[in-house]
Structures are given as structure tokens and as C-alpha cells.
């Protein structure tokens, strides 16, 4: 199952490098999940596309400063679910969300809550890298600019910091004014991560961030996630089970809109409760 391949090795090395941290906070077990502080909770969430139901009663608690992976076959509703978390689904006509989703106890679907503020607290990276047709600098500074930040020195500092945290600084520091569309696919995706973290969100949503990337670029992004999880609560959607196993602390398995199993990654991949989870992770369907 966990075949050794390129990115795998890279990750393995990184885990060794971060051994000290791993000792301090051992991977959460099923029972220990409750002990972690919770960043977001979903309670009996249903999503309707007109008459058809895409998400059927998902309840989960997403732990703070952990990487939570959502796995499942194509069309199981992973992306729909993750887009509910920053209310990006508001744009889709005919889509309805039921149930309660809260960020640090605040109901995000509360009509009194400002969705713009919410999205500033929850950053997102998409499946297809989507930098704006602007310069690298302006891409990263975008979130601050729309927030009304004009001070040059603040922008400069944030851009540099964000690019450094997204492990892109060394590659682009000499061409910050160049068009972002001139970057390679992997660089573009890291730029999107830099853009998402520039506004200091609490939660970072990643919707299959590596599906369009080659293994080397994928490895770089995964390393990045390791480094970022101290500061952010990360939720990553992936259909690549090795990736989920490598990067996440907690994993949820979704099937046909239902959350089949939600547990510590190690546990879910080694001793799944549900026969459907086992069937999926052993590759019998999906």
C-alpha cells in the first residue's frame, strides 16, 4: 500500500528531521482526538443541489494545528464539503446547506456574519493553480490590498514572508515584478499557497492541490504542508491515499456524500473500522 516512491522518500526524510516535534505531539489516536483543540466543527451537514443531496449528514470536528485529509472516490462530495467551509458555495445557484458549521464556535452560516471577513480567516488553494494575471508580487499582496493595505513596507514584508513560508522566495525573489503566469505549474501552486497565507488565515483549505503536478512538485508542496501546520489548521482534499497517509494527522473517508469514517490517519489506514473504508484503501474500488 505505502509503496516507496520519490516523494515518499522525501517525506520520510522530513519526518526524521521533525522527529523532535513528533515526540512532543504524537499522532492523535482515535481517543485522543477529543483532547486537541477544535478549529472547526461540522454538525449534521447536508448539502442540496436542487433536489439532489450531495452531502448527507456529515459530522466532524477538525482539530486545530493539524492536517486533516478528506479522501474518497471522485464525485463523493469532498470538494463540495470543503467549499462549504469558506462559503464559496454561496456562488452556486440552487445550492443549499443545512446543519451547523462553526469556526471556533461561531456559526459561519449565520446571516449576521460577514462572509468577506470569514474568507479572510479561511484561506483556500484550488485544484487548478489559479494565479491572477498580475505580477508575482501583486498576487501575494492581493489579499492585503483588497483589505485596504497600501503601505509599501508592510506589503513588501508580507510578500517576502509569505513567499518564504511557501518555499518560493529563493526561486522568484529576483523577478517579483514578472507575470505570475510565467511560473511553472508547481511554482504557481506554491504561489497560490503564498497568496492564501499572506492574510494570516486561521484555517487553510486545500482542494486537491497536487492533482495537476508532477511528483517533484508534489513533494515540495507536501513538505510545505508539514512546515505550515504549526501555524495553521489545514484541511486537504485528495484522492491520492498515499498523500493523505503522508501528510495528514486525521483522515476522513467520504463515500457518496456520507462520512464513512473519521479517525487518526494511522488508525484509519491500518485498522479501519468500516469494511467500505478498508475496501477503498486497499484499492478494491474507487
Amino acid at each position: 500500500m505505502m509503496a516507496s516512491n520519490g516523494p515518499m522518500l522525501a517525506v520520510g526524510k522530513l519526518v526524521v528531521g521533525m522527529g523532535r516535534k513528533a515526540d512532543e505531539t504524537p499522532p492523535p489516536q482515535a481517543g485522543k482526538l477529543a483532547k486537541d483543540a477544535t478549529a472547526m466543527t461540522l454538525q449534521d451537514v447536508h448539502v442540496w443541489y436542487g433536489p439532489s443531496r450531495a452531502i448527507k449528514g456529515v459530522t466532524m470536528a477538525i482539530p486545530e494545528h493539524r492536517v486533516t485529509a478528506l479522501i474518497g472516490p471522485s464525485g463523493c462530495g469532498k470538494s463540495t464539503l470543503i467549499r462549504c467551509l469558506n462559503r464559496l458555495n454561496d456562488l452556486i445557484e440552487g445550492l443549499r446547506v443545512e446543519g451547523r458549521i462553526s469556526l471556533h464556535g461561531e456559526d459561519i452560516n449565520d446571516p449576521r456574519l460577514d462572509v468577506i471577513t470569514l474568507r479572510k480567516r479561511i484561506g483556500m488553494v484550488f485544484q487548478k493553480s489559479n494565479p491572477f494575471p498580475k505580477s508575482i508580487y501583486e498576487n501575494v499582496a492581493y489579499g492585503l490590498r483588497v483589505d485596504g493595505e497600501h503601505r509599501r513596507e508592510v506589503l513588501d514584508q508580507v510578500v517576502e514572508e509569505s513567499l518564504k513560508r511557501a518555499a518560493l522566495w529563493d526561486e522568484v525573489k529576483d523577478r517579483l515584478r514578472a507575470n505570475a503566469l510565467g511560473l511553472s505549474g508547481g511554482q504557481q501552486q506554491r504561489l497560490c499557497i503564498a497568496r492564501a497565507i499572506a492574510t494570516e488565515p486561521e484555517v487553510l483549505l486545500l482542494d486537491e492541490p497536487c492533482s495537476a503536478l508532477d511528483p517533484i512538485a508534489t513533494g515540495k508542496i507536501e513538505e510545505l504542508l508539514y512546515a505550515l501546520k504549526d501555524a495553521y489548521t489545514i484541511i486537504i482534499v485528495t484522492h491520492n491515499m498515499q498523500q493523505a497517509a503522508r501528510v495528514s494527522d486525521v483522515t476522513g473517508f467520504l463515500l457518496m456524500g456520507e462520512l464513512i469514517e473519521f479517525d487518526a490517519t494511522e488508525k484509519l489506514f491500518t485498522t479501519p473500522h468500516d469494511p467500505r473504508t478498508e475496501a477503498y484503501i486497499t484499492g478494491r474500488f474507487g
Partner: protein, 547 residues
């Protein structure tokens, strides 16, 4: 049983080629028509200014003509003994003031002899069209020069620049200096009228204006005196021209625009005359009911109107398209609106003209006059045709083009970057303004280019919303407020119509029609190239945005 593969026959092969031929031929026909049109215009237009030789023709009946060959054609239903059709020639003989006509038909069979008179002079003057003949005398305050053709000619050439200078000086006083005084006086008069309208007894202000008018009148008297002095001075310089029949015509030298002896011109001399005429055509005012001189005011009017139209149509079209595509809830109502907008492009342009006249000129312009210029009534200020109303009418005409192009450009902006912007915490307006619109700019510019091309060539709606045959003042000048949007203006498209079909001397001005057409095409091409340059630069910036 084995199935044998039948070899494809020659006919089958030809049938396969058929679509290629059909499409190719159709394309060829379209190309041919465009090339044909352009080459006709260029061939007819570009030769116009080349100085043609002056032919002296003696007919068998003893009459003589001096003129240039305008064109030759076969006489219908008349044949020579050998069966070939008889020819006749259309001579331009000029001297309209003496002959009453500019052109004469001569049957080639009647021509006794034809030769190029060495000393023949072609004179372009301010009135009565060209004069073809010889120079008899040149009169200056220092004496009269006559006699040998060459010495008179040299004397005339010598006096000509001085004459032009005197003419310019007189015209400067007549138009600019006196015009400015009139303008200022009119302002004071209107101010007095305004005081009367407000029924306030502000007599102090009134006397102030009256005093200003008196001052201006005193200045005018001084200038009029100077003008009269200059005119008297100018009248002393005269030239006597003789036509081929011996009659003479005496003219002030300042009324001559250009003289040359076409039969003695070297090739370089011809080029010089050609370039000088071209310069006059592009940079000078029209003369002789537009059939001679330049078209500078029409070029200016066309460019300014097109730019004003662009300034109006781009925001209008882009904002409408933004609403349609980004804000409006897509449904049957929006679909109907979209279809209606597309159909608007098919409404005859004269209908837009009538609407513009009724809505902009009479309703809006009339209201502006009532509110802001009551002292000038009943003379309309904004309440008649003007460059502003014409531009706005044309922007209504071209707005569908911009809307359609903008909508297409907006649809081509990937949804990914919209989502990315929203996920960064941008509002919908910020997303549109900072991300979507910049990415759509090249497409919007394509629509703008199409709108400009359509608008610059439109004539019908302009004829009733502000274009005139001859506008005394440009809509942009040195007098405050510099931009006079209420003024009527000249337009190259209308100029073509006017010179070609309304001119008293159609045959003489035919060439001007072709030249004006070339110029209009040139102006449209220039405007479009500029816009394309801008678009190219922006495209470079957004290269790869489709990813």
C-alpha cells in the same frame, strides 16, 4: 469471397477537391472585391495632384482651347470609315470666370492640331477655379513688368511668396483678431442680457460691461483701419493673365495659391507640386465650396468625434455588459435583453440619427439651453446639432458592439481566478474591478476597435445631429473654454457626400472625393492601429490568462 477494394476513380478525386475549390473561390472573390475597391480609390485618388501637361488644341473650325485632358471616351453609335468607334476628349479648360464652364468635349475628328504650349501657365487661385493661359504682366508699386514670357514668369514667381504672406496677414486679422473681438463682445452682450433677465438692478455691473464693449469697439475701429491699410497696400500688387483667345484677367497676386508651368516642369518639379498640393489638402481649409483646398477641419472633426464617441461608448458598454454578465440573475429576461441588444446593432443608422436629434438635441440640449443659456435664446446653444450630440448618437449606435465583445471577454475569464479572488476575502466588486476586468481588457478593446471603425465611417446619423458642409470654427480652439462641444463640425464621410453630390462643380471635384475617401480610410486605419497597439501590449501582459 474476398471483397476487392475498388480503386478511387478520377471523378471521386475531383469531388473530394470540390469543397476546397468552392471555399477557395469564394474567398478569392471577396478578396478581389476588397482589393478592387482599394485599388480603384488609390488609382483615382493618388494621381489627382500630379500636374498634368496643358494641351493647346486647334479645331478645324478655327477655335482654340488650352486645357488638360480630363478623360477620353468612345462616342456612342458613331464609327469611323474603318469601323472603329470615334473618340472624343473631355478637356478641362478652366477660366470659369471668362468661359462660364470648366470643361469642354472635343471630338477627336475635329482636332486640327494639338501641341504643348511651352509657356502655358496653370494658376490655382482663391476663386473661380484654375486659370490656364499665360502671364501677361506683373504690376508692383515699383513698376510694371511685361514683355518676354520668362521674365514675367520670374517676376510673378518672385512676387508670389509676398502675396501669400499678405493674404495670410489679412486673413489672420479678419478671422482671428476680429473674431476674438467679436467673441468677447458677444460675451459682454450676453452678460448684459443675463442681467436684464434676472431683473436685478445691478447697474454697476451693467455699465462695466458696456464700458468693455465700448473699449472693444474702439479696438475694432483701430484694427479695421489697419486692415483697410493692408488691403490697399495689397491691391497694388497685381498680375494680368491672358487666356488663349487673348482676353485678359487682372487679379491681385495675393489671391493666387499656386502657379506652375506644367509643360516645363521637370520630374522633380512635378513631385514638388504634388507634395505641395498634398500638404494643402491635409493641412489647409477648404476653398471654393469644398471642391478645392484642404480638408483639415474635416479630419479634425472626424478624429475628435470618434474619440468623443469612444469615450462615451466604452464606459456605457462595459458597465452594461458587466451588469448583464456578472450581476444580473441569468434567466429569460436577461436572454431577451441580450437578444434585444444584439438586434439594436441592426437598426438603420438614420433611425439613431432621428432619435439623437429628438432626444439629445431637442430634449436634453433644449433643456440645457433653458437652464444655463437663456440669454442666447432663441438662438440654440446646445439645443441644435453639435459634436457632443453627434458623438453620443453614434455611441448609442455602436454600444451593442461593445456590449457583445465585453460579455464574450468576461465569459472567457476563467472562473478559477474569480473563486481565488473571493477566497482571498475580496468582495464581488473588488473581484470584478481588480481581477476580472483587467483580464477582459483585451477583449473589450477589440469591441472598442470595432465600434470605432463602425462609428468613424457612419454619415447618415451625423447629417441631422451636427455635421455641416463648412464649419467656421473648430470645436477646439484658443478661446475659453477651449472645448466647444456645442459647435457643429465637419466630417470626412459627409465631406465625401457633399463634394461628390452636392458640389456645384461635380466633375472638377470628383478627384477630391477619391482623395477624401483615402483620407477617411487612413484615419480609420490609424485610429484602429493605435487601439490594436494598446491591445497588443495588454495581451502581452495577460498572456496565458486562459490557463
Amino acid at each position: 469471397m474476398t471483397r476487392t477494394r475498388r480503386p478511387r476513380g478520377r471523378l471521386q478525386f475531383l469531388l473530394d477537391q470540390l469543397p476546397v475549390w468552392m471555399t477557395g473561390i469564394t474567398f478569392g472573390v471577396a478578396l478581389l472585391m476588397i482589393v478592387g475597391l482599394l485599388s480603384l480609390i488609390l488609382a483615382k485618388g493618388l494621381g489627382t495632384f500630379w500636374p498634368a501637361p496643358l494641351e493647346e488644341v486647334r479645331l478645324k473650325d478655327g477655335s482654340r482651347y488650352l486645357g488638360l485632358v480630363h478623360r477620353t471616351e468612345a462616342i456612342p453609335h458613331q464609327f469611323a470609315a474603318d469601323g472603329r468607334p470615334l473618340q472624343r476628349t473631355f478637356f478641362r479648360i478652366g477660366n470659369r470666370d471668362l468661359y462660364g464652364v470648366d470643361f469642354v468635349w472635343v471630338d477627336d475628328a475635329q482636332i486640327d492640331s494639338q501641341n504643348r504650349l511651352r509657356n502655358a501657365v496653370a494658376v490655382e487661385r482663391l476663386e473661380w477655379g484654375p486659370f490656364y493661359g499665360t502671364v501677361a504682366q506683373v504690376k508692383t508699386p515699383s513698376g510694371v513688368i511685361g514683355g518676354a514670357a520668362d521674365s514675367v514668369w520670374l517676376a510673378l514667381r518672385h512676387e508670389l511668396p509676398g502675396g501669400r504672406k499678405r493674404f495670410q496677414a489679412i486673413r489672420h486679422i479678419e478671422k482671428k483678431v476680429i473674431g476674438d473681438i467679436n467673441f468677447a463682445m458677444e460675451e459682454h452682450r450676453l452678460a448684459i442680457k443675463r442681467l436684464g433677465l434676472s431683473r436685478a438692478a445691478q447697474s454697476a455691473e451693467r455699465t462695466q460691461h458696456e464700458r468693455a464693449i465700448a473699449d472693444l469697439e474702439a479696438r475694432y475701429a483701430g484694427i479695421a483701419e489697419e486692415l483697410e491699410r493692408k488691403r490697399t497696400d495689397d491691391r497694388a500688387y497685381r498680375v494680368v493673365l491672358a487666356e488663349i483667345g487673348g482676353r485678359t484677367k487682372e487679379l491681385p497676386i495675393s489671391s493666387l495659391v499656386r502657379v506652375h508651368r506644367p509643360n516645363q516642369l521637370s520630374w522633380a518639379g512635378c513631385v514638388g507640386v504634388y507634395l505641395d498640393r498634398l500638404r494643402e489638402f491635409i493641412f489647409e481649409q477648404p476653398r471654393e465650396a469644398n471642391s478645392e483646398g484642404g480638408v483639415a477641419p474635416a479630419i479634425f472633426g472626424t478624429v475628435m468625434m470618434t474619440l468623443l464617441m469612444t469615450l462615451a461608448v466604452v464606459p456605457l458598454g462595459v458597465l452594461a455588459a458587466l451588469y448583464l454578465h456578472e450581476y444580473a440573475k441569468q434567466g429569460w429576461l436577461v436572454s431577451i435583453v441580450r437578444i434585444a441588444v444584439n438586434n439594436l446593432a441592426g437598426v438603420p443608422s438614420i433611425v439613431f440619427g432621428v432619435f439623437g436629434l429628438g432626444f439629445f438635441c431637442y430634449l436634453i440640449g433644449g433643456t440645457i439651453d433653458q437652464l444655463f443659456f437663456p440669454e442666447r435664446l432663441p438662438t440654440p446653444t446646445f439645443g441644435g446639432g453639435g459634436i457632443l450630440w453627434a458623438s453620443l448618437t453614434l455611441s448609442l449606435l455602436t454600444v451593442p458592439v461593445v456590449i457583445v465583445a465585453t460579455e464574450e471577454a468576461l465569459a472567457a475569464v476563467p472562473n478559477g481566478i474569480r473563486a481565488a479572488s473571493l477566497a482571498c476575502g475580496a468582495t464581488k466588486f473588488q473581484t470584478i474591478w481588480r481581477v476580472v476586468l483587467p483580464a477582459a481588457v483585451p477583449g473589450i478593446l477589440t469591441g472598442t476597435i470595432l465600434a470605432m471603425a463602425r462609428g468613424a465611417g457612419e454619415v447618415a446619423p451625423l447629417m441631422i445631429t451636427g455635421v455641416v458642409k463648412l464649419a467656421p470654427d473648430l470645436p477646439l480652439d484658443h478661446l475659453a473654454p477651449f472645448l466647444h462641444l456645442e459647435r457643429r463640425f465637419m466630417h470626412l464621410g459627409f465631406h465625401i457626400y457633399d463634394v461628390g453630390f452636392q458640389s456645384p462643380n461635380v466633375e472638377a471635384s470628383k478627384a477630391m472625393v477619391y482623395m477624401t475617401t483615402i483620407l477617411l480610410l487612413g484615419v480609420v486605419v490609424c485610429l484602429n492601429l493605435t487601439a490594436m497597439q494598446v491591445r497588443g501590449r495588454l495581451r502581452e501582459q495577460f498572456r496565458g490568462a486562459e490557463v
